[in-house]
């Protein structure tokens, strides 16, 4: 049934899109620009298909402890063929003052609004406002949709702090782009804070329901002029929530926590622009570092003495990746990631949660702008915390992805 709905939606979108295309392909058209992007992978690992699960259970201070949490997303990969998502995007100009964008992702029988927002186009002096549900502007990788990633999977850093999708939420963003000699962008965001990890919310009678907005961010990006052949962008990000909630209950005991989390991050992107045709000679070096600290208080517990006790934690994570255009339409990439160089929780005692690492190599073939195919090999050492033993242990495994990504309809944007 769901498949029928999905295929009907795609067919409708294609029809509309081919209609608009035949009519006119320029921005003066009244119809929104429509595109459908299909992403699928052949996946396998040498852990009997549990590699993805191990990554989801990677130990971190924002991980769930001792209770089952229902999660969904790109992560539900099985060994073999998977359609990860079909993403339907419509965008256009609402009126002289507003642009709007809607992306709906169909995956595993679920339909989800991935992004839906409007933003201003007529504010003076470099100001812009955006409202709706959208990817946060913190860092560099966070704003990119799955299909424009240089690797097949989410980074460990984003996975451990924000989950599969990255930080995407309902809220408001204000950015300011002053007319300076080089690119400088300042932004602040306020989000509702409905997250799985950073800014999680727990529904429980003994915890008061959080009032939004509960999550705020700020970011700065600068791009000094370094010539016509290359580009460098540096970024600084902050995010904070004062109402992060965790449920550490283990039946029949109850333990509920609430408190602050603060994140800061640095990102750097260097790109050498291609000198040959179709991406040959292009080179990208990109790295991000995040540091998160939390200070929670036990708000409710079966053991009444525990109430009011503090639980604190510190964790960081980074990735470093590089992609090189080895031939026209061919690129190769390497990525090194680490989560939890610092990774500890302090309650009565201090738990060392251990570090996780992964090395990935990818080769991507992009025959045209509308399709790409990728082979990715990864070697992961993922740390998981064993509650019973009270210490971290490591799981090592290999992963392989064969990914395809095809797009229909409106021409995609060449985002930096």
């Amino acid at each position: 049934m769901k498949n029928t709905v999905l295929s009907a939606a795609i067919t409708a979108a294609c029809l509309v899109s081919s209609f608009t295309y035949a009519q006119s392909n320029n921005d003066t058209s009244f119809n929104p620009k429509i595109s459908v992007i299909l992403d699928g992978v052949y996946y396998s690992d040498n852990k009997g298909g549990d590699g993805i699960e191990h990554i989801e259970e990677m130990s971190g201070i924002l991980g769930s402890h001792g209770h089952d949490e229902e999660e969904h997303g790109h992560g539900e990969l099985k060994r073999g063929f998977n359609i990860r998502e079909a993403e339907l995007t419509m965008s256009g100009t609402v009126d002289p003052h507003l642009d709007a964008w809607i992306t709906v992702a169909f995956s595993n029988g679920e339909t989800e609004i991935e992004e839906a927002y409007f933003e201003t186009r007529s504010l003076p002096s470099g100001w812009k406002m955006k409202a709706g549900k959208f990817f946060s502007g913190i860092g560099y990788h966070n704003q990119q949709h799955l299909h424009s990633w240089a690797f097949s999977d989410q980074t460990l850093a984003h996975q451990t702090f924000f989950g599969d999708h990255g930080l995407v939420d309902s809220g408001l963003q204000v950015t300011y782009l002053p007319a300076t000699p080089f690119y400088t962008l300042v932004g602040v965001e306020v989000f509702q804070g409905e997250q799985d990890k950073f800014g999680a919310e727990v529904e429980h009678d003994e915890l008061k329901e959080g009032a939004g907005p509960r999550l705020s961010t700020a970011f700065l990006k600068i791009a000094p002029e370094i010539g016509t052949g290359s580009e460098l962008q540096l970024g600084l990000s902050l995010a904070r929530t004062g109402q992060h909630q965790e449920d550490h209950s283990e039946t029949p005991d109850v333990e509920l926590l609430e408190g602050d989390i603060l994140l800061w991050g640095l990102d750097v992107v260097y790109k050498k622009l291609p000198t040959g045709s179709f991406g040959e000679g292009s080179f990208t070096l990109q790295a991000e570092y995040f540091n998160v600290s939390k200070e929670l208080t036990i708000e409710a517990a079966s053991d009444i003495d525990e109430v009011g006790e503090e639980v604190t934690g510190d964790q960081d994570a980074f990735y470093l990746q590089t992609v090189y255009g080895i031939a026209p339409r061919w690129s190769i990439g390497a990525r090194y990631e680490m989560a939890g160089m610092v990774n500890e929780l302090k309650e009565e005692s201090t738990d060392k949660l251990g570090d996780s690492r992964r090395v990935s190599l990818a080769a991507t073939w992009q025959p045209t702008e509308y399709s790409k195919f990728r082979l990715q090999l990864s070697r992961a050492n993922i740390s998981e915390f064993d509650e019973d033993l009270g210490k971290a242990r490591s799981e090592s495994f290999n992963q392989i992805y064969l990914q395809y990504n095809v797009s229909l309809g409106a021409h995609g944007a060449h985002q930096f």
Binding site: N25, N26, L123, K221, A223, E231, K271, F278, E369, F416
Partner: protein, 304 residues
């Protein structure tokens, strides 16, 4: 004390902003080198022009990088080709540039919208490769169309900067005089090329060859934007054996492997034409661009 220093600083900054905006030229952001050259021809010393791309880049594949966003942010006018040539990046620049002045006319000037395009309104789908339903966007390669674009651009400059309207119109009429004279010279010089057959790498030359009466008999790309395949190349060899072309032509930003291979196999001369300003050492403005392209084509004779 600190307050007073801050106040002074604000005053100085404010003054700086005021005086710089009063004295500033009109800031023009051009997408391609030929439009940069045209804006300089017409704008003279009343404008300062920055450009997004250079002759060695394929303008279709540009990223909307922060430096370009910053230039759009500071522009009074954006001059681009349009007809989907910059579809991947110009909309992003205009969106992220947060500059309402250039998001539409009059601050946004699209050259291809000022003239009639070859192939406009034809049915197109992606199975035909990288085709533009609006028509072939490379219209500046026809000097007559270039002149029409120049006239529209001069008018637009006058609208945006009405104080200098007379100046722009005078610059245009001077340009027109020199350009028409140059066209006569080019047409005389290129007369021997009329009726010659050429193989092109990509269809970007349609306007230039139509103008000179040169026949485009084949292209190295099997479909626009699709790289040459060995079967397509061997087909071209057969075609060239029965009916040899005068030259094989490509732009500085295209991969030369296909053209060089075909030239070697068939003994036909392979020429890298400048295509736009900066495409060869001699091409420093629009006049030397056409001078050099015609010279380069005439030179292909010696290769035989």
């Amino acid at each position: 004390m600190i307050n007073r220093i801050l106040l002074k600083l604000c005053f100085v900054c404010g003054l700086g902003v005021l005086s710089s905006s009063a004295l500033a030229d009109m800031q023009i952001f051009a997408c391609e080198p030929e439009l940069e050259a045209l804006a300089k021809e017409l704008g003279g010393d009343r404008v300062s022009v920055s450009v997004a791309t250079h002759a060695k880049q394929d303008v279709h594949y540009i990223q909307a990088r922060p430096s370009l966003i910053n230039k759009v942010r500071r522009a009074d006018m954006v001059v681009c080709t349009g007809a989907s040539l910059e579809i991947g990046w110009l909309p992003v620049l205009l969106k992220k540039g947060a500059n309402p002045k250039v998001q539409g006319e009059p601050g946004l000037f699209m050259a291809a919208e000022q003239v009639e395009l070859i192939g406009a309104g034809s049915v197109a789908d992606r199975s035909q490769g990288d085709v533009h339903p609006e028509g072939n966007p490379h219209a500046f390669q026809d000097p007559y169309r270039m002149l029409s674009i120049a006239q529209k651009l001069a008018d637009r400059l006058g609208v945006l900067d009405s104080d200098n309207k007379a100046y722009y119109l005078e610059r245009f009429s001077d340009f027109k005089g020199r350009w028409l004279k140059a066209i006569t010279n080019w047409e005389t010089k290129a007369a021997p090329l009329k009726g010659q057959a050429v193989v092109v790498h990509h269809k970007s030359w349609e306007y230039f060859f139509n103008w000179l009466g040169i026949d485009m008999v084949a292209s190295i790309e099997p479909l626009p934007g699709i790289p040459p395949t060995s079967s397509h190349l061997s087909q071209l060899v057969t075609q060239m054996e029965s009916k040899p072309a005068y030259a094989i032509v490509r732009a500085p930003f295209t991969n030369k492997k296909g053209s060089v291979w075909l030239a070697k196999r068939t003994g036909i001369c392979e020429v890298e034409l400048a295509y736009t300003v900066g495409g060869s050492q001699q091409t420093t403005d629009l006049f030397t661009l056409f001078d050099s392209m015609i010279d380069q084509l005439l030179g292909a004779e010696q290769c035989k």
